[in-house]
Amino acid sequence: MAHDAGYAPDTLVTAATSETRLSRVVLTIVALGFVALFLLLPLATVFIEAFRKGAAEFFTALGDPETFAAIRLTLLVAGIAVPLNLVFGVAAAWAIAKFEFKGKAFLTTLIDLPFSVSPVISGLVFVLLFSSHSLLGPILQSYGIQILFAVPGLVLATVFVTFPFVARELIPLMQEQGTADEEAALSLGATGWQTFWHVTLPNIKWGLLYGVLLCNARAMGEFGAVSVVSGHIRGQTNTMPLQVEILYNEYNFVAAFAVAALLALLALVTLVLKTALELRYSDEIAASRRH
């Protein structure tokens, strides 16, 4: 620990273990300038451009039927993809954190794999699997099942890119918690499901929420992967980020930034909730998150 009791408060720190006041000020200004230039200014731009022609224009842009359809589609896709990965994440964490078995490290690496794949490639793999030139595509089409350029393709691509989020958050947390609580519950006669619902789930709920939060932000904001599988059918297969691209390329900047502002708002809400969870429940989220 850096801040143990034996160590002098800042005011008494000798100059030997701290930089001079001048260099501290200069370093802080350079670092904050970098943050302002690369993070804060782009964020501010989104809202400024969205409201450039006033609030009325902003809401008109959002009321457009195609934009409205994009918002609904984004909610639908995230609404399917996030719960699927939630169930997977809990199952993976249960197997990996509560048991010792051969090949565990390799399995963990495989779960992290989607993070190191370019979003475009994440979409491409599903195009190769389901296109009319592939093995599966024509078979599914003969049954009238459309995967690409339709909701199932968007969901698959989104599930792929958000695959590791929940599992990666829960595994270190559940490993740290160990199995003592579960063993106690079982020895008192609880069934496996009772143990999970009444003992494990309450222990991991904040970590789970944290993982779901990050998973959802990525699911709603994903661009590259869904762009490849969507086919860009207006009003039908355009999610919000794809709608931003279309509007922007049509030089409809106010509308593009209006949709972008909604997504930026989502990002800000995610950051606020994430920070609140880190501050309030730092002990109940994975050890790696503790600052």
Binding site: A2, A16, T20, R24, L27, A31, F34, V35, F38, L39, L41, P42, L43, T45, V46, E49, V87, F88, A91, A92, A95, I96, K98, F99, E100, F101, S116, S118, P119, V120, I121, L124, V125, F126, V127, L128, L156, F160, F163, T179, E183, L186, S187, G192, F196, L214, G221, F223, G224, V228, M240, P241, V244, A267, T270, L271, V272, K274, S288, H291
Partner: protein, 288 residues
């Protein structure tokens, strides 16, 4: 820990005995989902590219436009990762060691690139750095063009990569023992010597890991780059965009070949990261 004696006395088993139920179900769900979503699609890509045959694959991979796009992707990602390494370490240092108003907000904002959809970042950065934008119009009289040039790609990749460096270095910095610095100071080191010879070497593995993560992310990045890049073939066209272009031309073999090369290079990056972490655990006692 199970002692070696205990382990050798039991015969080989897949898993250690445990009273906790649900192993079969949990592992079954995990493996099934992993296979359907990740393993089958990815092996489909590798199978398709191996189906091209070696000479066809090499021909597609060494196509001049492809090589240019890969060079641009890796080159800009490398430059952006270097910038992020320098400023990321500085920012982490300022956040860990100094006090200033609004520190908590700035700390939270570091994760903005993780939360902000890449397309949103892309159009915002383009608007800022275009010749008529706030920053672009300041640089235009100096003859500096950022948007619609490779420099624009670097700017976008700095945005997406920054949190990787800060978030890998920051926790390690917080764990630094103050006594190490006190010892260095007592032995007569100047503050600069303490930082450059004592503190920074200990942060090297974390810094390298953050650098590698930012670099890997930058190579594959698509959404934030395509708006600001200008997408001029041979000049500012990134590899992921070329994959999309080939797909739109229904040229699946070319798209597959580029993707396979990128995938191969990313897996090598992953390997490098693992080697750095293993080395760091041995040398410095932490895994970054």
């Amino acid at each position: 820990m199970i002692s070696m004696a205990a382990r050798s006395s039991t015969r080989w088993r897949f898993r250690q005995p445990s009273v906790i139920p649900g192993f079969g179900l949990a592992l079954g769900v995990t493996l099934a989902w992993l296979t359907i979503i990740v393993l089958i699609p990815l092996s489909g890509l590798l199978w398709r590219s191996s189906g091209l045959g070696w000479s066809k694959f090499v021909e597609l991979a060494l196509d001049e436009r492809t090589v240019n796009a890969l060079t641009i992707s890796f080159g800009t990602a490398f430059i952006a990762a270097v910038v992020n390494l320098v400023f990321g370490v500085l920012l982490a240092w300022v956040l860990v060691r100094y006090r200033f108003p609004g520190k908590r907000v700035i700390d939270a904002m570091v994760d903005l690139p993780f939360a902000l959809p890449t397309a949103v970042a892309g159009i915002a950065l383009t608007t800022l750095y275009a010749p008529n934008g706030w920053i672009g119009s300041l640089l235009a009289p100096l003859g500096i063009k950022i948007a619609f040039t490779p420099a624009g790609i670097v700017v976008a990749l700095i945005f997406v990569g920054l949190p990787f460096v800060v978030r890998t270095v920051q926790p390690i910095m917080e764990e630094i023992d103050k006594e190490v610095e006190e010892a260095a100071a007592t032995l007569g080191a100047t503050r600069f010597q303490t930082i450059s010879r004592v503190l920074l070497p200990g942060l090297l593995p974390a810094g390298l890991t953050g650098f590698a993560l930012a670099f890997a992310r930058g190579v594959g990045e698509y959404g934030s780059v395509i708006f600001i890049a200008g997408n001029l073939p041979y000049v500012s066209e990134i590899a992921p965009l070329l994959i999309v272009i080939r797909l739109e031309e229904f040229n699946y073999p070319a798209a597959t070949a580029i993707a396979a090369v990128m995938l191969l290079l990313s897996f090598m990056m992953l390997l490098v990261i693992n080697v750095i972490q293993a080395w760091s655990r041995r040398r410095y006692g932490y895994g970054a």
